[in-house]
Amino acid sequence: MFERFVNGFQVLVAIAAVVTVVLLLTVSPTVAEPAGTAVASGADLFVSNCAGCHGAGGEGGAGPALAGGLTRFSSIEEVVAFVSTGVPGAMPGFETRLGPDEIEAVVDHVWVELAGR
């Protein structure tokens, strides 16, 4: 009985593994609304685009902490440029995912609300 349960569970997990591979190959990042429509708030854009690496409150994670940080940048324009182009192997560029208004909105949120600059 227990053996049959384990066998059945292994089959389910094998199917889950295949589904995971299919998702890896097919799922695209969530793309924000195209330019010309209402721009989502910087906070919302941060949650959907940045929090996965930098933490929900900018406390850091796979990426560096943003809260109270950003000391390497001297102006908000530098951050906009950095977020737009990204860093190969470290952080994706967002100019192909977000419109200019959206990048400005999320950087403004990070600069003012999280970094306190």
Partner: protein, 165 residues
Amino acid sequence: MAIAVGVYGSVHDPAGQQTISLFFSNTLSFKAWTTTLILFFAFGQLYSALRIWGKVKIPKTMPSWWGDLHRLSGTLAFALSLPVAFHCLWALGFEPDFTELRRFSHSVLGCLFYGAFAAKVTLVRSPETPSWSLPVVGGVVFTTLVAIWLTSSLWFFTAVAFPGV
């Protein structure tokens, strides 16, 4: 398998987005605690394997379902690793810069884990497997998993937040 995972992580454009978080506040917390649970099952794997190979004597008489318990703990660990690996590969990608020691070693270890796991599953189902190979590959899987936990969950709990839920 290890190479395939590494190649995907390298060529895929990281999404940089959250994925599953269940009842945690964010995906990183979910991953840190899920990896800890995986480590728990990995220790279950280690102990049940040691009993199968007679290296420990408790329980004194090995129940008939002991082997199935060993398989179940391994399957649970693998199943739980899937959403974690999905976020690592899809959202973060492979870290090629070895000066970023934690991220680089974690990337390599993640690839090694799936390679070693695939080797173990293949060996355990092969009738002509040398008797020494399963403990060796199983040991590699366990060691890799411990190193993965050290470079991810432990780092998260000590450098980011604890419990960080």
